[in-house]
């Protein structure tokens, strides 16, 4: 536990990838086998199931600190992280006990079958025995994912360095589902096929956003251009007569997507296809939100299956005939993918696998105008992939780019302001914006990022002087300031007064040139909605 929390502190105190890798490699060199595999598990997001409730943590830590509930809540609001808040409010210990990492995590897992009294005595006992540094790590184990500035890439690099195995191989063996308990890194990483989980996906190769002019990428003929659809990135795997569907977040979604279940008989064994899972209706691919409700649901209704069945828009083929072909060029992989899908299609006309259409462009100008057609095609823009590119691991610059269209914008009036977090706790930095609905202003979105510190200070000053009313941390202000809000998408939402919900809204700039009456209207929002969204029947 001590070694792990020191590792955590070392990682946390540097922004350099190399130093993080070194810190991890040092840790692997000295850690016990059982601890090392748990370290990899928690750092790559494989947290054990939670066994202690948030309310219990608040109650027990409140008893120890003597602080009232409202003050705990205010503190949490400022810190923004439950584990950290509790570790900062607990009394500081003077003497510490030593526990091994696997012992602590396995004890936490075992709490699942214990009653409240036993859980309380274990947790409060640990709180009284750990150093401040360990307390935070311990609380993180209890409460949430342990994504602490260590990407999978860093863990993979460190393991590759320590065990002297190629990074690609480590990445592959580490992906998918595996258990830490009773396991060890040498056995997880060994090539021993008995240990090779057939469900394992390849680490996804991710594109960077294109910021430079596309001309800087060289000749357009060296690139494959596709539409960037707004679906769920996934890998469909058939191995040993079994089907697995993984999302990019490495969730196994096989059960949820019944449209693909027949593929287990159709796809040859040893096939892994990478693509975008989307609902399709009347020859159109629909955007993500149409299916969002389906993901959460246990049972999918017949109706929704008929209305918008899922398909995969396939763009890559990391494995064929049981052979990892990621080192081949994209052009070759895509060729094989096209042949595979064409052959399957002849026997299965309703195959839910479609080849991702190539957008042919003679030059970058043509590509630029295709990109602008994004909204008519219900896509977010274009993907640019170098024809000779390998299938790499994680987010890499150079060969794959996403070239999205500019965000939609609307001018809104500042209506409410709320205090920020941390060092901004004394500043009003979280804003709610409204548009006109006749004579009335209706709120349509919240946004908090996008202003420079200086602008934020001046807006904060203005808010303090123009407050109409205070309720808790929120103030309503004179409707006067206008801001341009950018967003990625717009969906109908009967729950909101404005009738819409925006995706990823953010402040683009303050419109000093506009007064409140010049802001946009609810009608404008509805027009944007009609242009952008696809009207699903429900």
């Amino acid at each position: 536990m001590k070694a792990f929390s020191e590792l955590f502190t070392r990682i946390d105190q540097t922004a350099s990838t190399n130093e993080k890798v070194d810190a991890l490699a040092d840790y692997f060199a000295q850690a016990e086998e059982q601890d090392a595999i748990w370290a990899v598990a928690v750092l790559s997001g494989r947290r054990p199931k939670r066994t202690v409730k948030t309310s219990e943590l608040w109650n027990w830590s409140g008893e120890l600190s003597g602080l009232p509930e409202w003050l705990q809540a205010e503190s949490y609001h400022i810190v923004g992280d439950l584990a950290e808040t509790i570790s900062l409010m607990l009394p500081v210990n003077k003497t510490f006990s030593n526990y091994s990492l696997h012992e602590v995590i396995e004890s936490l897992i075992a709490l699942g079958s214990k009653d409240e009294e036993a859980r309380k005595s274990y947790i409060t006992g640990m709180w009284a025995a750990l150093s401040t540094q360990e307390l935070f790590v311990f609380n993180k184990f209890i409460t949430g994912s342990f994504r602490v500035g260590v990407s999978d890439k860093i863990v993979i690099k460190a393991l590759a360095k320590h065990f002297k195995i190629e990074e690609n191989v480590v990445a592959h063996r580490l992906s998918g589902g595996w258990e830490a308990q009773g396991n060890s890194l040498p056995s997880l990483l060994s090539s021993d096929s008995a240990n090779n989980d057939i469900s394992r996906p390849y680490p996804f190769y991710l594109a960077y956003p294109l910021e430079a002019e596309p001309e800087s990428l060289g000749d357009v003929s060296e690139w494959i251009i596709e539409r960037k659809y707004d679906g769920i990135r996934g890998q469909i795997i058939v191995r040993n007569q079994e089907l697995f569907i993984w999302s990019r977040g490495e969730d196994l979604l096989t059960e949820k997507f019944s449209e693909f279940h027949s593929l287990v008989h159709i796809l040859p064994n040893g096939t892994v296809i990478d693509g975008e899972i989307l609902p399709r209706k009347e020859n159109c691919y629909l955007p993500f939100h149409v299916m969002q409700t389906r993901i959460g649901r246990k049972n999918v209704t017949k109706k929704s299956l008929q209305e918008a069945p899922l398909v995969m828009v396939c763009y890559d083929l990391p494995e064929l005939d049981g052979i990892d072909i990621r080192h081949l060029s994209l052009e070759e992989r895509r060729n094989k993918l096209e042949i595979l899908l064409e052959n399957l299609q002849t026997d299965n006309p309703d195959l839910p696998l479609h080849i991702s259409p190539v957008v042919f462009c003679k030059n970058w100008d043509e590509a630029a105008s295709e990109r602008l057609r994004a909204r008519e095609t219900f896509s977010e823009g274009l993907m640019l992939k170098r024809k000779n590119s390998e299938y790499k691991t994680g987010r890499r610059r150079g060969d794959w780019w996403k070239w999205k269209v500019d965000p939609l914008t609307i001018d809104g009036v500042l209506l409410y302001a709320q205090r920020g977090h941390g060092r901004r706790a004394d500043l009003y930095t979280d804003y709610t914006f409204a548009v006109w609905d006749g004579e009335e202003l209706v709120p349509f979105c919240k946004a908090y990022s996008g202003l420079t510190d200086k602008e934020m200070l001046s807006v904060d000053n203005w808010i303090k002087k123009n407050t109409l009313d205070k309720f808790g941390p929120v103030r309503s202000v004179t409707p006067e300031l206008v801001f341009e809000i950018g967003f990625e998408g717009i969906n109908p939402s009967p729950r909101h007064k404005s009738g819409v919900a925006l995706r990823f809204p953010r402040i683009l700039r303050r419109r000093l040139d506009k007064s409140a009456k010049d802001a946009n209207t609810k009608t404008d929002l509805m027009e944007l909605l009609n242009i952008y969204r696809f009207d699903n029947a429900e």
């Binding site: 503190s75 810190v79 706790a425 510190d453």
Partner: protein, 349 residues
Amino acid sequence: MQKPLLSFDDYGIYCAAADVYIDPWKPVKKAIITHAHSDHARWGMGFYLAHEHAIPVMKYRLGEDIKTQSLKYGEEIIMNGVKISLHPAGHIWGSAQVRLEYKGEVWVVSGDYKLQADGISVPFEPIKCNSFITESTFGLPIYNFPETQEVHEEINAWWQTNREEGKNSVLLAYSLGKAQRVMAHLDPSIGNIYTHGAVHNINEIYEAHIGPLPEALRIDSSVNRKEIKGAMIIAPPSAISTPWMRSFSPYKWAICSGWMQLRGTRRRRGADRGFIMSDHADWDQLNTAVLATGAENVYVTHGYKSIYAKWLNSNYGLNATEVETLYTGEALEETAEIETTESKPDESI
């Protein structure tokens, strides 16, 4: 009922009986200044009364021609029958609490303060009063600052490690107060120390009036950057990600601030290290200070004012109210600094 001795208006904290403002944020005829930080000592007052060690900094920042009167700690003056004296606030060198007494009623305006001894300023002294005005920059139970000595040792160890790796160490600290506090505790046997011009100017004032600091070279065009190796460079927070800072490559950089207690704040700044060190009071210090005054009325200014006032009310049964001011507390960017320089009218026109 008698009118309270102090009131809060659009200009600042006002004592009508003496016709004087304390730390006003708009120009007034007469001002008492708790300390020389730019959100407390602002431009444009007709007359400034402050501690003798605060005045040289104020003259440097606000102009040699400002009208001033200096006081020592404990020295008493009378204005229109109001007894006024300054007492150590422990915030930075030359910082003071203002005690005002009139017809048996005592008020203390504490400005900014801390109870931790920093080794360079006269430590905070609790003053008995009826009404106490306190800041609340770190007025939440999540703020518990480590022992100062521990942090100084961490800083020296960090410097040593960076030096061994062939890197410079850039430490960002407020030019007034924090920079001298850090400098005074550096171990000069580790390597050379350099200072940013803004820090160097304040250091010179400190050395002229208070005492020596470890030897440090001012960074200007005469300094060959290639010769700076394994050195400690002290700079104000405004140096973050400037070409000036990058010119010390290879280097590591750290921020010295109470906000570094929160992991998120540190990470958002992208600093290699965050040293938890503040010239403000943490949660325990605030509570200790407030209780030690014996005041029944407490006015809570800049910081988590409503939360802290509520705590004082509900936990200690004090009559605590939050007060809106334009003080900025411990900013991470010295934004306050920039603001006041800009609001100063251009005198050349």
